[in-house]
């Protein structure tokens, strides 16, 4: 795998900034409230530290997982803390959903789908490559267990993950989420080639 330099990381950070901006707009339209986002952190992290990064292995979260298909492979994992996922469902279904119902689960998956599609279409357009999200899948459980899937996908070939991390928040600040884009190992090359051809 090609090693990324600071410039490459900056460029990817900028791309993600725009992509996540679109995703935040899509989410605002869906929930009818202003949604903000923090500038994405693009980092290379040690795989075994990922559960701690998200608040400790035993913290309960809702995770929506989508595979990225098309010219570059990878995965997107959206992680909502338990109270934020409840707040999202309340907002969209206009009722309290406790315990998590089938309808609540579909709602979260749909939110994941909208965010991922918005993000990938921007990224794909800017890079001139096709990126399509798979059908979303949901797990409501301890964060350590939820992130296992991406860790083992990536762990096969290395000990580090390349992570884009963004936080969403709405104006009343009761909805937060983390957006992780984990490019597959070959995808970095595809993305860097696309950047190269864009920059002439």
């Amino acid at each position: 795998m090609k090693r990324l330099n600071e410039n490459d990381l900056d460029f990817l950070r900028e791309l993600s900034n725009i992509g996540v901006g679109h995703a935040a707009t899509a989410l605002s339209q869906l929930i009818g409230r202003q949604v903000g986002m923090r500038a994405p952190k693009v980092s290379i992290v040690d795989l075994s530290s990922v559960p701690e990064l998200m608040g400790g292995s035993e913290k309960v979260v809702s995770g929506v997982y989508l595979q990225v298909l098309g010219d570059a492979r990878g995965a997107i994992l959206l992680v909502f803390p338990d109270d934020s996922s409840r707040a999202l469902i309340n907002l969209l279904l206009k009722r309290v959903d406790e315990p998590l119902s089938e309808m609540g689960a579909s709602t979260l998956k749909e939110v994941g789908n909208i965010l991922a599609s918005a993000y990938l279409s921007v990224l794909g357009n800017m890079l001139g490559i096709t990126l399509i999200p798979s059908i979303p899948s949901l797990a409501h459980d301890m964060v350590g267990a939820v992130v296992d899937i991406v860790l083992s996908d990536l762990g096969e070939i290395g000990d580090t993950a390349f992570v884009f991390e963004t936080e969403f928040y709405d104006i009343t600040n009761d909805i937060k989420g983390h957006f992780f884009l984990l490019p597959g190992p070959d995808s970095i090359d595809v993305i860097m080639r696309a950047i190269g051809s864009k920059n002439g």
Partner: protein, 165 residues
Amino acid sequence: MDKVVVRIADYRIAEAPATLVTYGLGSCVAVALYDSEKRTGGLCHIMLPSSLGDRASGNPKKFADTCISGMLKDMEGHGCKVDRMVAKIAGGARMFDLPNKEKSSSIGERNRDAVLIELAKRRIPLIAEDTGENYGRTMEFHLGNGDMLVISLRGGTKVYRDEAL
């Protein structure tokens, strides 16, 4: 009480009265090996079945085969004997329903199967197992008596006692 935390892709060895604990197992598998005579045990948290894959590389403690052999060697260094050991395992869930991966077995199942093979190779009896399904688990391994506790959101706390002891 003395609690020793085992991180993902790692193992730890301790003796009574300590407790070894590993949090948030999804498709990962935790393997607890216990030598009741020494009241010493090892707990590992593996991520992947085999270090022999085409693209496998990196930390040997993330793979079932290399992690278990490393932990065993280390336990023998602490005076444990393989022929006195018993094993308990937990984890290996399928956390997400992936539509296009349904036909092949999940990473969780492959992890579990790889662990069973490593144990069988060394004739270490597997005396308790809490694996599969689609939920996360935390495992505690009490070295005072060899108990394995499996804690999950779905199933509460389950205790696996070694009846022979």
